[in-house]
């Protein structure tokens, strides 16, 4: 969906892996080259190996290029039989949207109460928050682009809310 200088789109499916465990154990279980964020709201990007989002001190979400990558990673971690790291396929759990454009932060502030100014929410920051009362996972991937992950049962409402927020900004953009 395009409106003025704003773009709202549903992203292609990608692999997602929910990682539970303390940070050292998770690092040990992952293949070399995949980094994990250690700070709250952090995002770790590994060249060619996906993006890892901080969800809580013991929860991270690893975004991978394909769903088969995620299944392989789950199998690999389970094969380790470590009692301290648990991996779950979360590829079907979330639906991904992206908002891009000069006013993308203002569009998201049409339903999200976080301070999304760049100093407060810089690139490679993520947050578990709400848009229009729908729980979402928000990631800033560039100064003018946000990705929003939402659980599938509520994706319909998030889409409606985002469309309305983009339209409501139409006159301003």
């Amino acid at each position: 969906m395009l409106s003025g200088s704003m773009a709202l789109e549903r992203c292609e499916p990608r692999g997602k892996l929910l990682l539970l465990g303390d940070a050292p154990a998770v690092v040990k279980a992952l293949p070399e080259g995949i980094g994990i964020p250690l700070q709250p709201r952090g995002v770790a990007r590994s060249r060619g190996s996906g993006t890892c989002l901080w969800l809580s001190p013991t929860q991270r979400l690893l975004l991978l290029a394909t769903e088969s990558d995620a299944r392989l990673a789950v199998a690999r971690i389970r094969a380790l039989r470590s009692p301290d790291v648990w991996a779950f396929d979360a590829g079907a759990r979330y639906v991904d949207f992206a908002v891009a454009g000069r006013d993308c932060a203002a569009v998201l502030n049409g339903g999200c109460s976080l301070d999304l100014r760049e100093p407060a929410f810089p690139v490679d920051t993520c947050a578990r928050t709400r848009f229009d009362q729908v729980p979402v996972l928000l990631v800033r991937s560039s100064p003018e682009r946000f990705e929003i992950l939402v659980e599938r049962p509520l994706a319909h409402y998030l889409w409606l809310g985002l469309c309305r927020a983009v339209n409501d900004r139409r006159d301003e953009t």
Partner: protein, 945 residues
Amino acid sequence: MTQRRLNGEALIDRTRLLTFTFNGRRYQGHPGDTLASALLANGVKRVARSFKLHRPRGIFSAGLEEPSALVTVGDGPYREVNVRATEAPLHEGLVARSQNCWPTVNFDAAAALGLFARFLPAGFYHKTFKWPAWGWYEGLMRRMAGLGRLNGIPDPDHYATQYHHCDVLVIGAGAAGLAAARAAAAVEDVVLLDSGDEFGGSVLRHELAALPRLLLLPRTTAMGYYDDGLVTALERIDEVRAPVPRGTQGPRQRLWKIRAARVVLATGAIERPLVFSNNDRPGIMLASAVRTYVTRYAVSPGTCAVIFTNNDSAYATAFALHERGVKVAAVVDLRQQPGAGLAARTRGAGIALHAGYAVVDTRGRSALKTVAIARCDPGVTRLLAGSLQWLRCDLLCVSGGWDPVVHLYAQAGGKLRFDARIAGFVPQRQGHRKAECIGAAAGHIDPPSQAPLLPVWRIPAWGRRDRRSLQWIDLAHDVTVADIELAATEGFRSVEHMKRYTTAGMAVDQGKTSNVNALALLGRATGREPAQVGTTTFRPPFHPVAIGALAGGRVDQRAQRFRRLPLQWHAEHGGVMEDHGGWLRPACYLESGETESQAIDREVRAARSAVALLDSSSLGKIEVCGEDAAQFLNRLYVNNVRTLEPGRLRYGLMLNDNGIIIDDGVLACLGEGRYMVNTSSAGALNTHFWMEEWLQCEWRSMRVWIAQQTAQWATLTLSGPKARTVLALLQLPVNLDGREFPHMHTRETEFEGTALRLRRASFTGELSFEIDVPADRGDALWCRLLELGAPHGIMPIGMEALDVLRVEKGFLEVGTDTDGDTSPLDVGWGVAISKKAEDFIGRRSLRRPAMQSAARLQLVGLLPAERNLRLPVGTHAIGAAGDIDGHVTSSCVSPHLERSVALARVRSGSTRMGQNVSLDIDGGRYSAVIGSTAFYDPKGERLDA
């Protein structure tokens, strides 16, 4: 109709004309006008009727403080009531009408109430209408109360919400606000908002627009100050309410929620009226408002004006009128001496100055015609005999001083003090950490008076008659001096009590022009100074807000967000989608010409005779893993989880600390230290939170990890005697034979490269397989199963059929067959619990005598004597003494048993098997026999069919 438009500069576009109607008559105005200025320009004086006594009222102010000129604007779905004419921008085709009058504003039948005014003082409804009963009068009273009438048509406009963060929020774009915003915007993120359209002149506007860190919000009114610097403000985007197809226009209004590190309140001050006899006639206005109409809109609200003041600021109105050619008959100043130079300038302009005089009365039935003035003593406590004069005028401009707009400051928690210099409440110095008042809002009234203001709260009435009941304080609610004094006499000394008793300050204007006069008069009546009386609590909103603006986008589908199943198939194939535990699920699937009852019956028969397919995706799915997972679940569930082997399932009940059932579900052991907990659909989130709370707060040393995976998996349930046959057609690498894969077992497998989980658990009493598949593959598998199962009579079923199937089997549904007082002992779990050696949440509570009492309500089955009578859920069982003996929790007419059956919670039910129970349905008595809950296949033989 008289045209009162003046020559000279104004902020209206005189080159264009706009046509509008008011009370059915056509008038013309200009772009830039408000409805109020256009009405005044057309000589319309009577605009509204007062709330209680239906006295004629005109336009009193020029802004949001307007207490009188409330009108209804728009038609049909665009009708809006209680719009202040002073704020409604004029547009072509605007339709407005007076409210609270019948048949017309000029002749209002209810004005006869004025004849009985002495019987209708403050709080009259607490003392009268008692005999024979309030109900005799209630209908009439309620019809007469309230302002404006809604027409019940949904509002077709939409409203937006916008969050914003900034370093500094400046509210008010007067000189002080502009200066503060400009200074701050050089180094910080600043928002400057104002109710008006403009931010200074054109040069300043361009300068402000060039500041990249300054966001300007015109037509935006701050509504409330909340915790931690959160300010709500309403932006009026499109005031032209006209039929435009829904969805093609932008929002009408936007509710801003601005969180600022610092809030600067440059909210100005509101002029205070003076209180004298008959001070409410159309034609009596605030002096500053008249100045605004003259200078901004080039409108003279009258042809001959009198100014009545106790301070210097009103003189500017006299000079503005005079300079525009409007006759000013006199300036009446309560003070013996006005500010330096003002007297000379007034007299120099040919305007009579009556210093040390007061306006003591007015006349004019439909609008002001004359005012009476009289000389008063310096303290304005009495009038001097023989000094009365009548002056002809049709406009009286009053000014009793200025009240700083400190509402937001007080809402922020800022403290106020009474400033005798302006006779008003101002912010205390350093009263608040984050909110700061500047300019007039801080009490710096501009220009500063050269002669001090003379605080006068009430002008004595002329003559012997007591005129206090005609001295109006709150024009919006018809509150008079007599009402305030009555409240004081009756012991309402607190300003909060006086407010509630008299309703002063409780109208839509929230007493912006009346509160200080009211509290000062209360002080006079109770021997206290205004500072001792204090103010009432300032609460948001500062200004009325449309409910639509508060709702924002939360309308239609977004008003109540039911979770959606991952399968899109249902709604496209006759599924009647309804709310079940917060999920939108198919109640049944209608086929051509079928009623819902017939559809449910068909689906139930298919499940018992062939195979049914049910979308159970809403089932909660929580994975619990770790070394201590078994012990963790063992403490949370009443069942013994430690003995659950990999590949096995166990039904479990979860209790709270009081031993009350809060959820149930099926626990699956997927491997060593790996469990999948299936919760009820409605309980998935709460169960997850319950688990996290215990893990994070109580059992922190446990090595357990919890993942909420409900949304990851779609769950399809094949149920019926042919379920195994249909499932086998998928050719899964799993032996489905009953001996290899028996009831209450689980398997993990793959189907076409996709992970799949199978469970043999049943909520229908039939052979059942629950199939978990990644949610995005659910639709494909569903369609495949329907295709493969077609030769075997497969049929999709909805929630209603499932309910019939489970009631026939007597399966418990938590939340339906249980309530906040149901323990596992009440549903027949006593023996099972007693076998568990280890502790679990709620166990100690279950040992209390009250929980073990035989007199508790226990779950039983009921067989009504009338075979086809479906017992309404909630039907009471009546005991021998007429007491309530229990109630029906679930009920259906079973297609297979060809009779009605029900589940009920009956007192001592488990010991009353075979006994009759009396049921009350809408006053009629019916009978039923108490029995087992399992009406169908009580031995469970069909589970392995």
